[in-house]
């Protein structure tokens, strides 16, 4: 037995040596005559593994689409190296170093997670490597703007300002009691700051009930909001927790109007059953149920690429739209593809045509990709979200708050 | 009843602890098993109880027969079931169980019903009246003598036909030792239980035993009826602490003894 263990260890040691010494020298970083190499880190076994799975599927579908349907980009095929970061900041740093230094990728794409992205924000600047785009929710991703770091996700600050706008202007509620239940991290604090900003504008107070990531028992939070008599409650966090919030609120007989942020636009919200019905959500993407051409095309490409599962995920365009833009940019640049050119091209697009998938736009000093949102209403019976309004901006426009 | 033939035991694949010993315990007899520290007495008992496989020990040669059946490959619980129990060295009562629970654990292998259990339970308390006053006390908090009594009582509850006691006098006051040895003799006489008594207190042991074995360095060096052993000069000198000319023994003489011991075996 010990012989097995010992020889096993020997093999492990050999593999380490082989892996670490394998040459990966390339003349130009990430771009060769026949290949453009992208990198991505995904959580494959940690708390964000569900997202990791979706992103890997989307990336696989994209790769197949570019290489086979489009026949590559100017004669080059794209390839994606994925590292597992387990949603852990240190492993992300390791993964980043590995992608940049060992795999020598051209750019990073389709990454997410506030804590992991935060850990490498400095390294991105140092390595001068484009990251297009992060779906992290933290504001530091786009404020202050960094040349190489693009952000495409909802801002919860926008969302929560829009909530107050909607309560006052559309629902025309007199004297609403505003509450917010949020995951106690940068993401949730972003939402909280929105409620504070809007509260200042409209002269409203609010009750805040943070919960820790991973917490499932929301009883204290619900009791706090209920005791304060909250009538309109914003939620920033994951959909299953939102469902738990709805269930707990129903249990103790507290029946406010809920507003979920864009992450709650997810089938998991229906875990709460009828309780989710009629509540509002904010969203920056086109919906599959609308049957827009953008989604039709996604359906076609994803089905061919074996990523049908990702189609049930309303947030899929959050990963897909930047990939479309990236493809277009690389096509427009031509044979002479460099990182700097890529960035200049990406930020030059005005009104990029997503065929109904939602707006995406950057500028020389603007790294925040989404600016307009719609208010959706949840229909629990059909398990659908329906747009109630047209695309709109929060009353306090970002950059001028 | 119990017969050990040429038993050899190795620990950890290298340490030879028993170098081929043979001994015999007849029905309803008290056998004394003497020897200094590390001679291999406890190992012999552990081998009989079937504990060796759990302690990295192994029987490499020889057999242990109980009523004509080879038992040295049996699991400990099967050996207890056959009627061989051991009172381990240092008593080893279950300190966190009450005295009563300790006694109940002793009857673990019994499957003969509540009444039988009750009868033995009363009987054992009759042997050890001291215990009946402390039934609800955690065994860890009773005195050393009481713990020894408890350990014997516990072993008795398995209804043994052979009871092996490993140094029951260890760490006890002389008066208590006498008391415990009396009870052992009583149990032997009244219940017709064979007793294999491992002792360093050779005088006491030989006083109640019919036959004795003396062990040194993993070998039986001398055996015989107790009265004969007690008269043996070497035994007197080295185990009973008596020397005819009342002189202190010197190291040189010990060496001398060892030389003769080789000749003896």
């Amino acid at each position: 037995m010990n012989v097995i263990a010992r020889s096993g260890l020997l093999i492990v040691a050999l593999v380490v040596l082989l892996v670490l010494s394998a040459p990966a020298a390339k003349a130009e970083v990430g771009v060769t005559d026949d290949k453009i190499l992208f990198g991505s880190f995904q959580d494959m076994s940690g708390p964000g593994a569900y997202l990791g799975k979706m992103c890997s599927l989307v990336l696989a579908a994209w790769k197949r689409w570019v290489n086979e349907d489009l026949g590559g980009i100017h004669g080059r095929k794209v390839d994606v190296v994925i590292e597992d970061n387990k949603y852990d900041p240190v492993l992300t740093k390791t993964a980043f170093t590995k992608l940049v230094d060992q795999h020598k990728v051209f750019a990073l794409t389709a990454v997410y997670g506030s804590t992991p992205c935060q850990a490498i924000i400095e390294d991105i600047d140092k390595a001068k490597i484009p990251v297009f785009a992060t779906a992290a929710t933290t504001q530091t991703m786009f404020d202050p703007p960094r040349r190489y770091l693009f952000h495409y996700a909802c801002s919860d600050q926008d969302n929560s300002i829009m909530m107050v706008d909607y309560i006052i202007n559309d629902l025309k509620t007199k004297d609403p009691k505003i509450g917010i239940c949020y995951q106690d991290d940068e993401w949730g604090k972003d939402a909280l700051s929105g409620v504070e900003l809007a509260g200042k504008k409209y002269g409203l107070a609010h009750t805040a009930a943070p919960y820790k990531r991973g917490e499932k028992n929301l009883n204290p939070q619900v009791m706090k909001l209920k005791a304060a008599g909250v009538t309109h409650c914003f939620f920033a966090g994951y959909a299953p927790v939102y469902a738990a919030l709805l269930t707990e609120a129903n249990k103790v007989g507290w029946k406010p109007i809920f507003f979920g942020d864009y992450v709650t636009v997810d089938p998991k919200t229906f875990m709460a059953g009828d309780l989710a019905n009629g509540h509002f959500h904010f969203f920056n993407l086109g919906l599959r149920s609308e049957g827009v051409p953008g989604w039709k095309k996604m359906e076609e490409i994803f089905t061919k690429g074996g990523a049908t599962e990702a189609l049930d995920w309303p947030l899929a365009p959050l990963m897909w739209t930047p990939l479309l833009m990236l493809t277009k940019a690389m096509q427009d640049i031509g044979k002479d593809l460099t990182r700097e050119k890529l960035i200049d091209t990406l930020q030059s697009y005005k009104d990029f045509d997503t065929a109904g998938l939602g707006k995406i736009e950057f500028g020389p000093n603007l790294r925040k990709g989404s600016h307009v949102y719609r208010v959706l209403q949840c229909d629990a019976a059909k398990k659908e979200f329906k747009p109630l309004t047209d695309w709109r901006e929060p009353s306090l426009v970002w950059g001028k708050r | 009843m119990l017969r050990i033939n040429n038993l050899e035991v190795v620990y950890n694949d290298i340490i030879l602890v028993l170098r081929g010993i043979s001994l015999e315990a007849p029905e309803a007899a008290i056998i004394a098993f003497l020897g200094s520290n590390g001679a291999g007495k406890s190992t012999t008992l552990r081998a009989i109880s079937g504990l060796l496989p759990y302690e990295d020990g192994e029987i490499t040669k020889g057999t242990i027969e109980y009523r004509g059946e080879a038992v040295h490959t049996f699991d400990p619980q099967r050996i207890v079931g056959l009627g061989i129990t051991q009172v381990p060295e240092g008593r080893r009562v279950f300190a966190e169980l009450t005295v009563e629970e300790n006694i109940r654990v002793g009857a673990h292998t019994r499957r003969d019903g509540k009444e039988e259990f009750r009868r033995d339970y009363d009987r054992v308390l009759a042997y050890f009246p001291a215990l009946s006053r402390r039934l609800r006390v955690q065994a860890g908090f009773v005195s050393g003598g009481e713990q020894q009594m408890l350990a014997i009582a516990r072993a008795f509850m398995a209804r043994p036909s052979l009871m092996m006691l490993d140094e029951p006098s260890l760490g006890l006051a002389p008066l208590l030792v006498t008391e415990i040895f009396d009870i052992i003799r009583k149990i032997n006489a009244e219940e017709r239980v064979s007793v294999l008594l491992v002792e360093q207190n050779a005088l006491m042991a030989l006083a109640i035993a019919e036959y004795g074995y003396i062990m040194e360095n993993g070998k039986i060096v001398l055996d015989g009826p107790s009265h004969k052993l007690m008269e043996n000069e070497d035994v007197k000198e080295f185990y009973l602490g008596m020397k005819s000319d009342k002189e202190r023994k010197s190291f040189a003489e010990v060496k001398h003894y060892k030389r003769r011991k080789r000749w003896l075996s």
Binding site: G46, G52, S56, L59, T140 | -
Partner: protein
């Protein structure tokens, strides 16, 4: 089976750090490789070496507490966190240079170690384990919520480390700082293990009441173990902070604490070499797993969602199999290999 050392004839021999000329030559060669590493290795390898170095220091620290003194701690990452945050705050807010930052990180952690050590004097076994666990979670909570000081999730960005006018901003250069500290800590730990204090600590581990009876001042040595261990942990944490350049609460979680325990167990409890081997092994293990799973995931993207699970399973299995077949850890293997070659061609 206990690992037995080779025969020594004099105390002098026993006290020697290197037991044979062969060991000396081996060590010199090894040091040479270590010293020249950034010259020939790629940046990623240097980075992994840096992480290994920090882990080695951390593991050595835990080894003093758990391996030598037998006080099991699941709060080691918290001590590292204390060191890291002290260094980071002093560096970022007070603008202190590197060396004072590193030292005050270590001292801060040592002070907390003393404070934690006192109440744990009465605790044994798993009660102590869970109490250190409690410390871990409380420190995590405080780091997370003392926003004015720690900036919570945003993390603290450290100034570029510099010493005597030299900058250690890159992995290549900071590697030497880590190497220096790691060797220093290893030698000091080895020394400690062989000193009177070290023997007292081992006595406490093996049988603390007996140790007290023979005159070992239990309270003193237990607290000493906590202090020394957390000092080293704090140093390792501070180095970690400088290495990463930015630290956030998630760097010092319960999982990290477990990782360190795994390091000293896999390496072989209570030995300096074991801690070093264990730390390097546990850092490289995920590298090996991802070296296999990474290309697989890239080649078969539909398999990717499954690969994460597999890597977790493999990680767990390696630990289980290791302990099933080699409870003495890497150190045990090392000793056996050494003995094998020393006595070759005779087996005994």
């Amino acid at each position: 089976m206990a690992v037995t050392r080779f025969c020594v004839r004099t105390y002098r021999q026993d006290l020697r750090i290197l037991s044979s000329p062969a060991a000396k030559i081996g060590l010199i060669l090894f040091l040479l490789v270590l010293l020249t590493l950034p010259l020939w290795a790629r940046k990623y390898l240097v980075f992994v070496a840096c992480i290994s170095g920090v882990s080695v220091i951390g593991a050595l620290g835990l080894n003093i507490l758990t391996g030598m003194t037998g006080l099991i701690s699941l709060g080691h990452a918290a001590f590292m966190g204390l060191g890291a945050y002290t260094a980071a705050i002093l560096s970022a807010k007070a603008g202190w240079p590197m060396v004072p930052c590193l030292l005050s990180g270590a001292v801060m952690s040592a002070v907390m170690g003393a404070i934690v050590g006192v109440p744990t004097l009465r605790l044994k076994g798993l009660y102590l384990v869970v109490t250190t666990l409690a410390f871990q979670f409380i420190v995590q909570h405080v780091i997370y919520h003392w926003e004015s000081l720690t900036q919570s999730d945003k993390g603290i960005k450290l100034a570029t480390p510099a010493f005597l006018g030299l900058e250690f901003g890159s992995y290549d250069s900071f590697y030497y700082v880590i190497l220096f500290c790691a060797v220093l800590v290893a030698v000091l730990t080895k020394n400690l293990a062989m000193s009177r204090t070290g023997r007292a600590l081992v006595a406490v581990r093996d049988r603390d009441i007996a140790a007290e009876i023979i005159g070992v001042n239990l309270a003193k040595y237990k607290i000493l173990a906590f202090v020394v261990s957390s000092f080293v942990a704090g140093l390792s944490g501070a180095l970690y902070a400088y290495l990463l350049g930015l630290i956030a609460p998630d760097h010092f979680t319960f999982n990290q604490s477990i990782l360190y325990v795994a390091m000293i167990i896999v390496g072989g409890m209570g030995t300096v070499l074991g801690s070093v081997l264990g730390a390097v092994f546990m850092v490289l293990l995920p590298e090996v797993i991802s070296a296999v799973s990474g290309p697989l995931a890239s080649a078969y993207p539909t398999l990717a969602p499954r690969i994460g699970g597999i890597s977790v399973v493999v990680y767990g299995l390696v630990i289980i199999l290791f302990l099933l077949f080699e409870p003495e850890g890497l150190f045990g293997i090392w000793i056996r290999l050494k003995r094998y070659f020393k006595t070759w061609p005779y087996t005994y």
